[in-house]
C-alpha cells in the first residue's frame, strides 16, 4: 500500500509539474478574488481599506474555499479522460491507495496555493501584521486543508462520473465544507484582531480535527465503491 501510494503520488506531482494546470490557476484565482473583495467591500477599513478580525478571516476562508473548488474540479479529469482509471483498476493494488494519493496531492496543492495566497492576503488586505499570528495560523490552515482535501477527493470521485461534473462539484462540496469554513474562520478571527493576536480558540480547532478524523474514516470506508467496473 505504501509503495502504491508513493508511486501514485509521484505520478500526480509529476503531472502537475509538467502541465502546471491546477496550482497556478488556483493562485491566480485567489489573488484576483482579493482584488475583487477590495473593490466590492468599498472603504470599510478607512482610506486604505484594510480588514481585521471576523471580516478578514471570512474573506480569507471564502477565497481559499473557492480556489480549492477549482482544484477539486480538476482532480480526476485527467484520469477520466485519458483512461487512468482503467489502468489503475487493472493493476493488482488496493483501491483505497488512490484515495490516499489523491488526497495527499490535493493537500500539497492547497499548501502550495496558500504559500502564495496567504502572504498576498497579508499584503493586500490585512490590517494587522501577519507575523504575530503565524504559528497558530499555520495550524488552522493545516487542519482545514486536511478536511478540504478529504472531502474534495470524495466529491471529485463522486462527480467525475456524472454528466454535469462542473456543476455537481460545488453543489456537493460547499454544503459539506460548511463546518470547515465555520471552524476555520472562527478560529482565525481572533488571530487577526486589531490589537495583537488573541489566543487561539481550542474548541474550534478541535472541531476541525474531529471533522478531519471522521470524514477521513468515512472516505476510507466508502471510496472502494466509487471505483468499480
Amino acid at each position: 500500500m505504501k509503495g502504491t501510494v508513493a508511486a501514485l503520488l509521484r505520478k500526480e506531482l509529476a503531472l502537475e509539474l509538467r502541465t502546471r494546470e491546477s496550482v497556478p490557476a488556483m493562485v491566480m484565482f485567489a489573488v484576483t478574488t482579493y482584488v475583487i473583495f477590495h473593490f466590492s467591500l468599498g472603504d470599510i477599513g478607512g482610506a486604505r481599506a484594510v480588514l481585521d478580525g471576523d471580516l478578514a478571516a471570512g474573506v480569507l476562508w471564502v477565497t481559499l474555499l473557492f480556489a480549492s473548488i477549482l482544484g477539486i474540479n480538476r482532480l480526476f479529469v485527467a484520469d477520466h479522460e485519458q483512461g487512468g482509471f482503467d489502468g489503475f483498476l487493472l493493476a493488482p493494488v488496493d483501491r483505497t491507495s488512490l484515495l490516499v494519493a489523491k488526497a495527499i496531492s490535493l493537500l500539497a496543492f492547497l499548501c502550495l496555493v496558500e504559500l502564495i495566497a496567504v502572504p498576498a492576503f497579508g499584503l493586500l488586505l490585512l490590517g494587522p501584521s501577519l507575523w504575530q499570528a503565524l504559528p497558530e495560523l499555520l495550524l488552522v490552515l493545516l487542519a482545514a486543508d486536511i478536511g478540504i482535501a478529504v472531502i474534495g477527493t470524495l466529491v471529485a470521485a463522486l462527480a467525475i462520473q456524472t454528466r454535469a461534473r462542473d456543476l455537481m462539484v460545488p453543489l456537493l462540496a460547499l454544503p459539506m465544507l460548511v463546518p470547515v469554513v465555520l471552524g476555520a474562520s472562527r478560529a482565525t478571527a481572533p488571530l487577526f484582531a486589531q490589537g495583537g493576536a488573541a489566543a487561539l480558540p481550542g474548541d474550534w480547532l478541535s472541531l476541525l480535527a474531529l471533522y478531519d478524523l471522521l470524514f477521513g474514516l468515512i472516505a476510507y470506508a466508502v471510496f472502494d465503491f466509487l471505483l468499480e467496473d
Binding site: L154, L158, Q161, T162, R163, A164, M168, L171, L172, P175, M176, V178, P179, L182, D203, W204, L207, L210, Y211, L214, F215, I218, A219, V222, F225, L226, E228, D229
Partner: protein, 228 residues
C-alpha cells in the same frame, strides 16, 4: 395506522392550546424536524446496507426515505419560519445556529436528486447515491453535535430536550404522541411509496412481456428514482 396516528395528532394537540394559538405549531414543527433528521440518517444506514448486500431493494428504501425526508424538511422550514415570524418577528434569523444548520443540511440533501439524475447507468447511480447518502448521513449528527457544543451559551431557539423535561406533563404527553404520530405517518408514507414503485415496476414488466419484448426499456426514460 395512518388514520389513527393522524387523528391523534389532530385531536390531542389542541388540548394544550392555552399557551397561545401559534404555540400549537410546536406539535407539528418539532416532530417533523426530528423525523426528517432521523430519516436522513436512516437513509444513510440503508445505503450502507445496499453497498453490503447489493440488493436493489435497499437502494430503493434509501431513496424513498431520503425523498420523503426532503419533503418533511421543506415542511419544517415553512412551519419554522411561520413560527419564527410570529414569535420573533422575522422569517429567518441568521444568528440561530439551529436554523442555519438545518438549512445547510436541507441544501445538501437537495443535491441528492440532481446527483441521481445526472448518472445514467442504474448500477452506478445506485452505488454513487449510496456513497453520498452515507457521507451525508454522517454529516447530520456531526453538524448538530457541533452546534450543541459551540452555541450552548446563548440561544433563542428552544432545545427539545430541555423543553420536554421542564414543561408540564400534559405538554410532553401531547408532544410524545405527536412525535410518534409523525413517525408513523412517515413510515406509512414510505410504505406507500415503496408499494407504488413496486407496482409500477411490475406493470412495466408485464407490459413488456405482453408486447413480446419488442420495445425495450427505453420507453420509460431516464429518472432519478431507482428502478427495480
Amino acid at each position: 395506522m395512518l388514520v389513527a396516528a393522524f387523528t391523534l395528532v389532530l385531536t390531542y394537540a389542541p388540548v394544550d392550546a392555552d399557551q397561545g394559538v401559534i404555540q400549537k405549531i410546536f406539535y407539528v414543527h418539532v416532530p417533523m424536524a426530528i423525523v426528517a433528521l432521523v430519516g436522513f440518517m436512516a437513509g444513510g444506514v440503508m445505503a450502507l446496507m445496499y453497498l453490503r448486500t447489493r440488493d436493489r431493494r435497499w437502494d430503493m428504501r434509501s431513496y424513498v426515505t431520503i425523498h420523503l425526508s426532503i419533503v418533511l424538511a421543506v415542511g419544517v422550514l415553512i412551519t419554522g419560519s411561520i413560527w419564527a415570524r410570529a414569535s420573533w418577528g422575522h422569517w429567518f434569523v441568521w444568528d440561530e445556529p439551529m436554523l442555519v444548520v438545518f438549512l445547510i443540511v436541507f441544501l445538501l440533501y437537495a443535491t441528492y436528486q440532481p446527483l441521481r439524475f445526472s448518472i445514467e447507468d442504474p448500477d452506478k447511480q445506485a452505488r454513487y447515491a449510496s456513497v453520498f447518502a452515507i457521507t451525508a448521513g454522517a454529516f447530520v449528527p456531526l453538524c448538530f453535535g457541533a452546534i450543541r457544543m459551540a452555541e450552548a451559551t446563548t440561544q433563542t431557539h428552544p432545545q427539545t430536550a430541555t423543553m420536554t423535561t421542564s414543561s408540564p406533563a400534559s405538554v410532553s404527553l401531547v408532544f410524545l404522541v405527536s412525535l410518534i404520530g409523525m413517525a408513523l405517518l412517515f413510515i406509512t408514507l414510505c410504505k406507500y411509496e415503496m408499494a407504488s414503485k413496486n407496482v409500477t415496476a411490475n406493470v412495466r414488466r408485464l407490459r413488456r412481456r405482453l408486447a413480446g419484448d419488442d420495445d425495450q426499456v427505453s420507453a420509460t426514460g431516464r429518472s432519478a428514482a431507482p428502478q427495480l
